[in-house]
Amino acid sequence: MHRLYTRSPIAKIMWGILSSLVGIIALLMVLVSENPRMEAQTINWEGRSIENGAKLFSDNCVICHGPDGKGILGRGPGLNSYYFFTDTGRLKDVGWVGSLEDYVKLTIAAGRPSKTESQWPEVMPTWGGQFGGPLRGDQVVDLTKFVMNWEGSALAQTPDEDPFQPFEDVIRPTEFQNTAYILLSEEEQAAALEEYRARNIRSPQEIWTGEACFACHNLEERQVDVYGQNGPNMADLYERAGSRVEGMTAEEYVYESIVNPAAYLVETYEQAGKMPQNFAEKLSEDEIQALVAWLLNPDREQ
């Protein structure tokens, strides 16, 4: 019978040494290949994640955001959009300081259930399982990766191609929520905004309610605060404003307090930064002047 196995210890030891060498060489090859392999694996699993996201998007999202992610007019905003993918676009408008990826992930996971009066027929539902939605955490990640994969095509869009539909609930007027505007230089943007405001001057009453000043300042009853100590009472502003700061007229004082709220804080209302700091950007010069005059007028119309 043929012997598969030799009895000579020398031959056995040689076999042992030879196969040790083979094993070590194979392991060294693995060692050398690990960096390129891990890179390839990383993009491989990213790719698969995007594929999973594509399926989820097509099953759940296309009815509002459209099959190509460009949104459906009056139904859901476009995501495959230059405006959406630029820092100075959507992210700036909502005041988001994190990355777009985090913003997308949060919006998918949490949805926008707080908006009872949305401009869209339906609010963005909550998708993340941790908030009671139907998707698992990994699915939210897959969907996010899929949405983020539009970056290349979105950033190649010209202003005319950008399908973004403006939001009505952000600081920047809806007229300027588009690619053409954010592609302008800063000076051009400021000029365009100024020109827009000149065309759209709001009355002081409109500003008072539109910017929600009434939420903190009581204008009707003297000495009475709105909801505890939110903001100083303003029913008697015309009596006090002139004597608040030495060398400042009532007009100057009120004007300064609107454009730079932290400059002079009223005693017991010393929480600087509570009042929005951006009224200088949101209101035109004429609007501010009219607002000041209205606030200081004891016979103003509510």
């Binding site: 196995y5 210890p9 392991l27 090859m29 290949s33 960096n35 392999r37 694996q41 790719g47």
Partner: protein, 547 residues
């Protein structure tokens, strides 16, 4: 003797040599340097044999016999299958403990940890592939070990109980392998284990079955609790149980000795303790060299197979809401899956395996034939081969080849682009899938060999089912490939047909494929390995040259 007297008697060099020899003797538990040299030179031991000392003084060798009968050291007698099984268990323990570092047994983390292991851990993929390959090899080797013992009649007296514990060890090996199956938490794992545990549900009466199922899964369905339970079974309970039974088994092996070839040993003879002096092969050094070199060769083989050929699968993340088409058990349970297709869950899943197991364990107590010689036990050998053949047939029936046929349209798409795994579409990949509409009822001439092959396969799958199924007439397959996103193509498969009574049918299935995705289950990955080695070498030598 104190050091100073030693130096006075032997001089400094002599004293150092004596001290070194002393240390050497302590490390080898009794073999001094001179004896070691004589061993290497192949000289016979003196009398009394100084090479027996490590067996009596050292822990590691005290479980090994001091000598074997010459006949059992022949490779073709045992094929070293028992040794190899034990060794694979050690390999599994080492790779398993390393893998535990990067794994947390929770549904939120398990699958993500798998991907992190593959993408971020140097040697992570190697460890995982080796652990998986080692596990499957262990099942195979333990089974082959049993087949060998059966065919040589080694279970006969006095070794009945050795066989009995061996069968228990086989069962534990199967469960150990199967419990590890769930841990990656992918579709393959989830559904294989769901099917596996559902068999426990068939144990009568219903309340017992449900309780067993509940205990195994930790909930009516597999979830976080089930994963944790399988993890604990896999890393703690089953290994400890296996180690315990291994020592019982091995004690019996040493106690009764390995059975000699049939014509050298009468049944009932105590060969281990009565080996004639001229037939003794001492463990030191002959058997040790033999076993060490054998295991070194096997280790190298395992490494080479892992590095160049084997790839542990990882499918999509477990999704309890969607059962993939053609769910299969691990290959060593194909036979059970085959049985389940032809008999009811209780008979095939509980009764038959239970009876088979009891029969297997009882073989030594049922077989009264006193002879171990092949020509005297034709019935046993034919029965054994017959049982093996039946197992293979049942296993074949367990594969999707047998008696699992979805609708033709579903099967066609599954053929070219399955839900899990690769299929030809993913094998040829993103760059070989040109945008456009491709119909099976039209001829194309694309200058892309790979894509033409895919169209051909699509065509022949449609054609096969047209001929095989009378309810599937005039079928047309349409593949539409569009660019969904940068680097992402959408493949829309559409099949239309007419049923026997002339009704039109339609089936649609959509998949996406990313440029960077590598579906290596049947393709590429291991082929790409040499490319990675070359890339890695290039950047390494570049870094070395450029300081």
């Amino acid at each position: 003797m104190g050091l100073q007297e030693n130096i006075r008697d032997k001089g400094v060099l002599g004293a150092v040599a004596a001290q070194a020899d002393d240390v050497f003797t302590r490390l080898t538990a009794g073999i001094d340097a001179g004896e070691f040299r004589r061993m290497l030179q192949g000289e016979p031991p003196g009398r009394p044999n100084p090479r027996l000392k490590p067996h009596s003084e050292g822990f590691l060798l005290h479980i090994k016999p001091t000598y074997y009968h010459e006949s059992v050291t022949r490779f073709t007698h045992t094929y070293r299958l028992g040794l190899l099984s034990t060794y694979l268990f050690i390999v599994e323990t080492i790779t398993g403990i390393l893998l535990m570092i990067w794994y947390a047994p929770s549904p939120e983390r398990a699958y993500v940890d798998m991907i992190l292991l593959l993408t971020n851990i140097p040697f992570g993929q190697f460890l995982r592939d080796m652990h998986r390959l080692g596990a499957e090899a262990m099942v195979a080797i333990v089974t082959l070990h049993m087949v060998r013992c059966y065919l040589t009649g080694s279970y006969k007296p006095p070794r009945q109980f050795t066989w009995f514990t061996g069968v228990l060890l086989l069962v534990m090996t199967l469960f150990l392998s199967f419990s590890g199956y769930l841990l990656p938490w992918d579709q393959l794992a989830f559904w294989a284990v769901t099917i596996g545990t559902s068999m426990a549900e068939a144990v009568p009466p219903a309340v017992v079955g449900e309780t067993v199922n509940l205990l195994a899964r930790g909930a009516p369905d597999i979830g976080a609790n089930g994963l944790l339970r399988f993890y604990l079974l896999h890393v703690l309970f089953l290994p400890l149980l296996l180690i315990l039974f291994f020592f019982v088994h091995y004690y019996k092996v040493v106690h009764f000795g390995i059975s000699l070839p049939a014509d050298e040993e009468e049944v009932g003879e105590d060969t281990a303790n009565r080996v004639p002096a001229d037939k003794r092969v001492y463990y030191l050094p002959d058997v040790l060299v033999d076993e060490t070199s054998f295991l070194t060769v096997m280790t190298a083989l395992l490494i080479v197979l892992t590095v160049f050929f084997f790839q542990a699968p990882l499918e999509h993340i477990a999704n309890p809401q969607s059962t993939p088409l053609h769910t299969v058990a691990p290959w060593y349970f194909y036979w059970l899956q085959g049985l389940l297709k032809i008999a009811d869950k209780f008979i095939a899943g509980v009764l038959l395996p239970g009876v088979l197991l009891v029969l297997l364990m009882a073989i030594p107590y049922l077989d009264y034939n006193p002879s171990r010689r092949g020509k005297d036990r034709m019935v046993a050998i034919v029965a054994g081969i017959g049982a093996g053949a039946v197992m293979i047939i049942w296993s074949w029936m367990g594969t999707p080849e047998y008696a699992v046929e979805g609708a033709p349209s579903v099967e066609i798409v599954q053929d070219v682009m399955p839900e899990e795994g690769s299929g030809l579409s993913r094998e040829i990949g993103y760059k070989h899938l040109p945008l456009g509409v491709w119909r099976t009822d039209e001829e194309y001439d694309v200058h892309d060999h790979e894509f033409m092959e895919l169209l051909h396969e699509f065509n022949s799958a449609v054609d096969y089912y047209r001929r095989a199924d009378p309810d599937f007439n005039a079928p047309i397959g349409i593949l539409t490939i569009t660019q969904a996103q940068p680097k992402l193509k959408k493949l829309n498969w559409e099949i239309t047909w007419f049923s026997a009574d002339g009704k039109e049918g339609e089936y649609k299935k959509t998949f996406w494929l990313h440029e960077d995705s590598l579906y290596w289950e049947q393709y590429g990955w291991k082929h790409l390995f040499m490319g990675y080695v070359a890339d890695g070498w290039k950047s390494l030598s570049g870094a070395l040259a450029g300081e």
